[in-house]
Each structure stands twice: as structure tokens, then as C-alpha cells.
Amino acid sequence: MSLTALLVDGLTVRFGSFRALDDLSLAIDYGEVRAIIGPNGAGKTTLLDVISGITRPKQGRVLFDGAIDLTGLSEAAIARAGLRRKFQKPSVFEGLSVRQHIAIGADVGFRARLDAPALEDRIGEVLETVGLVDQSHRLAGELSHGQKQWLEIGMVLASDPKVLMLDEPVAGLTDEETERTAALVRALKRPDRAIVVVEHDMDFVERIADRVTVLHEGRTLFEGSMAHVRADAAVVEVYLGR
């Protein structure tokens, strides 16, 4: 296992004449929680789309674990390689129960990877982690917004991913829920796992992130700790200050 979980190398994505990502490069290590911030249209979600295989880049590549180029793989293949992503909008399956979400997250495809008792253990463990044990038989459509966010985190967590991508996990949550989510994200940190969080909420980012990457117009504007981010003049100019 290399130290670098994800190496983004010269990535360019265009939508028509608009450059969502412009020759972007960055490296994310195992064991860190990396926050990616930036104004609207900076390319944060596009970056996650490329990593998870939804969007194909014009140029550049994304190396996972130092060896696997993700840019040619299908979404499912990328997911099976150990990269999981939570979407910006809560993307739960409204008609499935909470348990089924965790089960489908842990054990998908046509061949079961886990036997029944192991799957049960895993489901229990994940529900415990995201705090949805009491809701396990409810349909996802009935959950509150915050619970849906946690459910989705639980679903992507269930497969024990090496790279966990969270797109705006606290958007629309109350302060108390944000607090819980922050604690949850910190608890998920492990030496063999990289966590990438895209978020607008600066206080939340400050609480969870080891390092912060600021994107602006598809490029890296700044990279460093949150304290440094707040101090950087260019960042203040394009983002924080306005």
C-alpha cells in the first residue's frame, strides 16, 4: 500500500467551453481527512464525479493506491475497488429499508461476499456507528433529512472503503446534527483510509479536516491547514472575504 491514496494528475474536465476542472493536480494520503472547499462552480463536485467514474475527464488521470487508474473504469468497478461516495443530495433508495441500505452497501453484486452471520454483524456495527439502530426497519423515505445523510454515510461505510468521499454531508442539518456528523467523520478516520469531504460550512471543516484544499475555477488555489486557509489573502479574496 502506498502512502498516497489518491493522486489526481493534470485533470481537465470541460462542459462545452466551460472548464470545470483545469489541469488540476492534488494528492490525498491515507489516514487523513481532507476537506475540499471553494465557491460555487469551483469544481468540487466535478472532482468527486471524476474520481467515482460518473464524469470522464478530457485529460489527466486519477491514480488510486498509486497503481490503479480510475479514469477508465466503470462506476461499479471503482466502487468495488474500495472507493465509495456519498452524494450532495441525500441519494438514498426511498423504497428500501434502512437495513437493506446497509446490506446492499456491504454486500452487492450477484455473488455474496459475506456469509449471513458476518453480514448481520457488519450491519449491526454500521447502524451502531451512524446511530440508526432504532430506525433499522423503517423505509428510507420516512427518515428525516439528517437521518438520510447518516444513512447514506452508513451505506458507503458498510463496505469498509479505503477512500470515503462525502459531498456536503452537513448541508441543511441543524447545529446539533452537524455536531454529531462531525464526531462521526472523526470517528471514521483510520490509518488505512482516506476521507474526502466537500463542504461549505467552515466551522464544520475546521473541526474535521486535517488539511484543506481550496479550489477556484477548477484549480488549486491553496492547500494547508484551516488556520492557514483563513489567513491566506488570495483565499480571503475569492471566497471567505466576500
Binding site: 466503470s74 462506476e75 438514498v92 426511498e94 458507503v156
Partner: protein, 538 residues
């Protein structure tokens, strides 16, 4: 209470024991009967009465003994001599049925004009009860039918009770009713009216309402009341029967609609592809069924009756394979372009239709009708519980159960539901969405093939048949809410019933138009259909 009942039973048994020897003692005096047959007109009349009695009751051996006698007298094949009589055709003694020749100067009895008619009736009555062949009994019934007033009361009831052939039995019962209605005894006529009213049908109504012109209707108040009562009861029975028949036809039509729509619902719900070739997959399912029938005719004629069952896996696999090939070769590349996939599947539909036209021709296919989809059980009024429709209903119910189980209870079904509800998320947690698409397309196509099989005993099978179902199937899918099994079931039932309700009033075309307008109105109010999954893909 129990004691009373016991006493009655014991008394009955004792009575039976005491009566038994008497009955045997009263058994047929065969020699006396033959003597009467050889006697004068009066004696022959008595003999005819005895023979009539035998036809109605009496034991089977005596009846078998009597069967050739009336015919022999009519055809003048009875030779009377001093020792009795000989049946000249077979050369047997009329009493003992041992072979012997007539002794001395045999005399052949001649029937008087009055007796001739009686003997014709008696012969027919005996044949109806005791002839071994159904055709002979049917011929006898035809003879009796000519003079219903002469038929002894009770004969037809006894004959109907012992008749093994269902069709002939129904004919006998009808004749029994007619005979009783025209009987001379007013009480018998009133009883007959009550019995006819027990089995209401349009024919019975015609029969009974004709009686209002009968002189007795004006003359006898009891008879008039009985006729009116019977007319009212038959009317009610017919109304109930019509309601049941409509519901039953609606149910069978709904079953076919469901079968046609369920595959479409899965494909449309999962991939957003409007598969216009679904109708042709139904058609191909029916053609595969026909090919299985033709194959069995050559390979294993003894199994021919079971072709509908044997064709089930074959129809499913063939249409599923066509669906998978279609998905892999064509639709896979058009997922992001719904209009293109619509046009492409339309082209495939035309191609398949014309391919079948070229290979098999445009005529309707001829299907054997196996015994298990033949006929039906008359229930009430003109409602017949027909087995071919029941086959379609049962088939749809089994398909529903299996599909529901597959989608709700298996990992494959969980994958299908996850992809249907949120394709991106499903892909991002590692569900192989392309493979799920392909297998689901195969499943949907295979279900269309099964629909073709299920409707082959009811509808005509030709290359155009798919066109008739595709629109209805789409209405079911859209009304039910895309991609839900429950919605498909409810919408199929609703559309099926409404169609069948409207059709007799304003015709099939108007029914389609009205149903379509109702769906449009409904979708204005609930655009997502009856049972939409909340928050499905944009």
C-alpha cells in the same frame, strides 16, 4: 334429538329389509311381458306401459332385457309361437335369450296405429336409458323431442341423472324442462316452472315468457303467478350472471394486460427505455408456443395436450434471449437518449413483425385446444366459468407471485430496486448497473413471452397481435406508476374491468377512447401514477 334420529334410521332400515323381498317378488314377469307383446292391441298397450315403467325405474338387468323388444315389435322382427316368442334378427328366444328357432307357424304381432306411436316412444325411452353408445342415446333423445307431451314424467330426470356424457345430459335436462312445461297437469307445469327458474338463462327466459300467450296464463291465476314469479327469478339470475360474467371477463382481460405490462414496467422503471418492441415479444412468445405444439406433434404426439405447459420455459428463454440481445446490441448505446431508444425499439418492432410475416405468413395460427382449457362450468344465468380464461388468470397470478418474489426476496431483485430508485448511487456502491440492466431486460422480455403464451388460447395469434397490446400495456404502466408491481396489478385490474364494462354499451373502440380519456384525466390529478416510488430518478 339423537334418539329420535336413531329411531328413524332403525325404522328405515327395518322397512328396507322388509320391503326388499317384496320388491324382488314384484320383479319383471318376463314371460308375461312377452305373452302380452304377442297378444291383442289391449295386451300390447299393457306391455308398452310395463316397458315404459322399466325405462323410468326398475333395475338395470331388466332394462337391458327390455331394450331390443320394442324395436323388434316395430320392425316386425318378433316371431310369436306356442313357446313364447323369438327375436328373429338375432335368433334368440325373447324370454330366455337362448338361441332357438321359431316353432310351427310363427305369428308376427302387428301394431295398431295408436300403439305404434307409443312403441316408438317406448323404444326411444329405453334406448335413452340403456343404449351403450352416446350417439344412440342422442338419437333416442331426438325421437323423444318430437312429441314432448308423450314423454312420461320422470323419465328424463332419471335419464339425466344416469347420463355420463355432459353435453347430452344438458340436452336431456333442457328437454325435461320443455316436456314438463307442456304437460297436461297444471301442478306439474307449475313445478316445472319453479325448476326452470332454478337454472336461469336467456333460453329459459324465452321459454317462460312464451307461456304468457298460453291459454292457461289467462285462465288460471296460480299458473299466472307461477309464470310471473319464474320470469322475475330468471331475470334476477340473468342479471347476477351478467355481472359475474363481466367481472370474470374483466379479470381475464386484466390478467392478459398485467402479463403484457409487467415486463414493460420493469424495463421502463429500471432503464427509462420505452420498449415499443414489447408487443412483438408477446407475439413471439405466442409463436414459440405454436412451434412447441408443432414440434410435439412430430416428436411426441402423446404429449401434444401438454404443449402449453411445456412451452412455458421455452417461450420465456427465447424471448428473454431476444431481449438481452436487443439490449446488448442496440439499447445499451442509447440510454442517455430516450427519443432515440424509442425510435430504435419501434424499428425493432417493425422488423420483428415483418420477419414473422415473411417466415410464417400473415394468417392466424391454429392452436390445439388441450382438455384443460376446453369448456367450462356453467354457474348462473349465462355466466360460464370457462377454463381458457381461468388458465390466463391462474397463469397471471403465478407470474405475479414469482415476479414479486424475485424482485422482493432475492439479491437480484434488491439490485433491480436499488438501480430503479437511484441509478448513480447504486453504481457508486458497486452494483454492476449494466449487468442488472441486461438481466432485467431479459426478465422483462421473458415475461412478455409468457404473456404471449397465456393469451394464445384466448386471442388470435398473428404477426400484428403485438400492436393490440402495446398501447394497453403502456396505459397500465403509466397509470400504475412506473416500475411498481402493485401499481401494475391495480392498474391492469382497473383498465381491464372498465374496458369490459364499457365495451357492450358503446363498443370496443369507444371503450378504448373512454379509458384513454379517463387515464389522461387521472394523470392530470396524479402525474406520478397510482403507486409511484417517491423520489425516483429525474
Amino acid at each position: 334429538m339423537n334418539l329420535t334420529r336413531l329411531t328413524v334410521v332403525v325404522a328405515g332400515l327395518l322397512a328396507a329389509l322388509l320391503a326388499a323381498p317384496t320388491a324382488r317378488a314384484q320383479g319383471l314377469d318376463r314371460a308375461g311381458l312377452i305373452a302380452n307383446l304377442c297378444g291383442n292391441a289391449g295386451a300390447m298397450g299393457e306391455a308398452a306401459a310395463v316397458l315404459t315403467g322399466l325405462a323410468m325405474s326398475g333395475d338395470a338387468a331388466d332394462r337391458a332385457f327390455a331394450v331390443p323388444l320394442a324395436r323388434a315389435v316395430i320392425d316386425r322382427k318378433l316371431a310369436c309361437d306356442d313357446a313364447g316368442a323369438v327375436l328373429t334378427e338375432s335368433g334368440l328366444d325373447a324370454v330366455t335369450r337362448a338361441p332357438r328357432a321359431a316353432a310351427g307357424e310363427p305369428r308376427t304381432p302387428v301394431l295398431s296405429l295408436k300403439n305404434r306411436a307409443t312403441y316408438e316412444q317406448v323404444d326411444a325411452a329405453l334406448a335413452l336409458r340403456a343404449a351403450p353408445e352416446a350417439a344412440q342415446r342422442a338419437a333416442a333423445l331426438k325421437t323423444l323431442e318430437r312429441r314432448p307431451a308423450l314423454i312420461p314424467e320422470g323419465l328424463l330426470d332419471a335419464a339425466a341423472a344416469s347420463e355420463p356424457d355432459a353435453g347430452l345430459k344438458a340436452d336431456i335436462e333442457t328437454l325435461a324442462q320443455t316436456a314438463a312445461l307442456t304437460a297436461a297437469d297444471p301442478a306439474a307445469r307449475i313445478r316445472a316452472l319453479a325448476r326452470i327458474a332454478d337454472n336461469p338463462s336467456r333460453r329459459a327466459l324465452t321459454q317462460v315468457s312464451a307461456l304468457t300467450a298460453d291459454p292457461a296464463y289467462a285462465a288460471s291465476p296460480e299458473f299466472r303467478a307461477a309464470v310471473d314469479e319464474a320470469t322475475a327469478r330468471i331475470g334476477r339470475g340473468i342479471a347476477v350472471g351478467d355481472v359475474l360474467a363481466t367481472a370474470y371477463n374483466g379479470l381475464s382481460f386484466a390478467s392478459i394486460l398485467f402479463m403484457a405490462a409487467i415486463g414493460l414496467a420493469i424495463i421502463f422503471g429500471l432503464m427509462g427505455v420505452i420498449n415499443l418492441a414489447q408487443g412483438e415479444l408477446i407475439m413471439i412468445g405466442a409463436y414459440v408456443t405454436w412451434l412447441v405444439q408443432q414440434g410435439l406433434r412430430v416428436v411426441a404426439p402423446s404429449l401434444l395436450d401438454w404443449y402449453l405447459v411445456l412451452a412455458i420455459p421455452i417461450a420465456f428463454v427465447v424471448t428473454a434471449a431476444i431481449g438481452i440481445a436487443l439490449e446488448a446490441s442496440l439499447l445499451r448505446h442509447l440510454y442517455k437518449r430516450p427519443l432515440m431508444s424509442l425510435l430504435a425499439t419501434w424499428a425493432v418492432s417493425l422488423f420483428l413483425m415483418n420477419l414473422v410475416r415473411v417466415v410464417f405468413g400473415t394468417q392466424n395460427l391454429q392452436f390445439e385446444t388441450p382438455f384443460y382449457v376446453t369448456g367450462g362450468v356453467p354457474v348462473i344465468g349465462d355466466f360460464i366459468f370457462t377454463w381458457n380464461r381461468m388458465f390466463a388468470i391462474a397463469f397471471a397470478v403465478v407470474t405475479l407471485a414469482l415476479t414479486w418474489g424475485l424482485v422482493r426476496r432475492t439479491p437480484f431483485g434488491l439490485n433491480i430496486r436499488a438501480v430503479t430508485q437511484n441509478r448513480d448511487m447504486a453504481a457508486c456502491i458497486g452494483i454492476p448497473t449494466r449487468r442488472v440492466d441486461m438481466m432485467a431486460f431479459g426478465l422483462g422480455s421473458g415475461l412478455a413471452g409468457l404473456a404471449g403464451l397465456a393469451l394464445s388460447p384466448i386471442y388470435s395469434v398473428n404477426p400484428q397481435m403485438g400492436q393490440n397490446f402495446i398501447i394497453d400495456a403502456f396505459m397500465v404502466v403509466v397509470l400504475g406508476g412506473v416500475g411498481t408491481i402493485a401499481g401494475t396489478v391495480v392498474a391492469a385490474l382497473g383498465i381491464g374491468q372498465i374496458n369490459v364494462l364499457i365495451e357492450p354499451l358503446w363498443g370496443a373502440v369507444a371503450a378504448k377512447v373512454i379509458v384513454l380519456l379517463m387515464i389522461i384525466a387521472f394523470l392530470q390529478w396524479r402525474p406520478e401514477g397510482l403507486f409511484a416510488v417517491k423520489g425516483r430518478r429525474k
